[in-house]
């Protein structure tokens, strides 16, 4: 993502690092999140996604510069959380509480929480107001938590793997609610997930972390312009390899052109002539930029 003016950026990070003792969980990252964007935060386990999100809501001590909604997350955490909502994990509702208790408590604790909206969202799920959290399945707890958070009139939603444990119908319902009802061009969402293929169509931007470092920060429009994927026959694989693609992989259902190579930037014309241009998927780009180089995915 190109740096936006401060006026339109909801999140600005410059040279941001977060350490736990000797371990650097987030290492010198810089990015901005403008208004009205749905940003995917991608990375392997331990890449630093959760740490970055915690720093954004004042639950981790960063070095460097970080402002969220114009506020310092550490020093103005309470004020920030009145306008930003955060799901650190969906399986963390207090087990002693009934769903109605949580609505009562959030009505008192969150100035922008709407109890009526929460009840309306819960009606679309299989969760009843009288249910105790400890009697709910993991998926139902996730549905309840998402309904509660979606009832907050926040400018920024930070979601750490929000659909973990949800079945495919519930995931789709959540994404539809997010895009159709919550995203209005002024609010932004930062969402981390391992279900990259499912979420790709919703995203406007992507941040990729690898071992704490930001390896890619780009809009999906710019991604399509910058990265080139060429599907080709296996017979030209060596010539393709000589052009040093980011990634070589198999393509399903492509007939004889069942191999593909992914390039950062336009490959030379003689290489482009060997294959057929196709749109690179976010998954393949993620693998290309975060895999260990010694692993060759074309050989099993």
């Amino acid at each position: 993502m190109k740096p936006e003016t401060t006026d339109s950026a909801l999140v600005e990070a410059r040279n941001l690092s977060v350490s736990y003792g000797a371990k650097r969980a987030v290492d010198d990252v810089s990015f901005t999140i403008p208004k009205g964007r749905v940003v995917g935060l991608l990375g392997h386990n331990g890449a630093g996604k959760t740490t970055l999100m915690k720093a954004m809501v004042g639950l981790a001590q960063p070095q460097g510069e970080l402002t969220v909604l114009g506020l310092n997350p550490l020093k103005q955490r309470v004020q920030l959380l009145q306008s930003a909502c955060y799901i650190p994990d969906v399986a963390i509702l207090p087990r002693w509480a009934r769903v109605s208790d949580l609505i009562t408590l959030m009505s008192g604790l969150h100035p922008k929480f709407s109890a009526d909206r929460a009840r309306a969202l819960l009606k679309r799920t299989s969760v009843k107001l009288s249910d105790k959290v400890k009697s709910l399945s993991k998926g139902m707890v996730a549905q309840a938590h998402l309904a509660l958070v979606a009832a907050i009139d926040a400018q920024l939603m930070i979601l750490d793997e929000p659909t973990l444990g949800l079945d495919v119908l519930s995931r789709k319902a959540f994404y539809e609610m997010l895009i159709d009802e919550w995203c209005d061009g002024q609010r932004s969402v930062l969402i981390s997930t391992h279900q990259v293929e499912e979420i790709e169509s919703l995203l406007s931007d992507v941040l990729m972390l690898n071992e704490g470092k930001l390896v890619l920060s780009i809009s999906l429009e710019d991604m399509d312009r910058r990265f080139v994927a060429l599907s080709h026959d296996a017979s030209v694989a060596e010539q393709m390899a000589a052009a040093h693609p980011l990634l070589k992989y198999r393509v399903q259902g492509a007939g004889s052109m069942n191999q593909a190579s992914l390039f950062d930037g336009e490959p030379p014309p003689h290489v482009q002539a060997l294959g057929k241009r196709m749109r690179p998927s976010l998954v393949d780009l993620f693998v290309a930029l975060t895999r260990k180089p010694e692993l060759d995915r074309t050989h099993f």
């Binding site: 915690k54 004020q79 650190p88 994990d89 207090p94 087990r95 008192g108 969150h110």
Partner: protein
Amino acid sequence: MNNLLPLMQREWLQHRFAWALLVLVPLALAVLPLTFGQVEFDSDVTSRAGPDLALMVALIAMIITTAVMFLILWISSIFIAVGTPRRDHGDRSIEFWMSLPTGHTESLVTPLLVHLLLVPAAALVVGLISSVAVSLLLVTRFESLSGWFALPWGQLLAAGLAVVARVMAGLPMATLWLLPVLLLAMLSNALFKRWGLPVVAVALGVGGSVLAQVFGQPWLLQALGRVFSEAAVALVGASGKGLKIDANEDPMAVLQALPAWAAADWLAAVRQLASPAFLLVLLLSAVLLAGLVLWRQRGAGHSA
């Protein structure tokens, strides 16, 4: 602290059934034997009490019921309060609570207000009300219902309310005296999890004994003794005159003197706050609370 009421409401929603059990179970244990059993006094007691036996019995029943109810809820509330830093870690809901716009200080202090002040105060009121029912059962078992109604309920309730008000007014002072020990236990619980209380017990108890016996430095045990004794007299007995009823005293005279005694006793407890020891207690408490807030700011012991 505009989140005070919702945070207090959280304590009510989480603990209301436990509180109900702590009130009802001892009450049932007291009431059931009285309902089906017999009450008898030996001749020595009946001859000494004379016509005031029913009054004495009602008074003792009220004192014991109220005191037991208060002690059960106060002690259990202290244990709940000491466990609050880690209570949301078992189900990981600490992450849910930390994702809400509540300050670290108010999240730590509000449970203390509820469990160390409000719940014991409510226990006193509930205890006093229950004690009237217990006295009814007790007096009617050995005398009669009309005998219970004939008791001087105006003076009894006035005296009961005076004593309850004295203890209730002393609760904040007693809590402040005990606060360094309680906050130390909380911080130890935060840092050492289930080893927290044993660590504090060993550090203070065994450590204090070793300092006194081996190194001739009794100051830790003396400080602990001072803190506990000041907390006790903050509740009752600060004037040096305990709540005693001499066998030769006219019970009615005692009842009528109780409100004045309660007021004087409370004032004596307030005067005892004007001491360097109390200032040190406040300073220690502030440092320990700051430590707890810092612990919570750094993630409450819950890493990514």
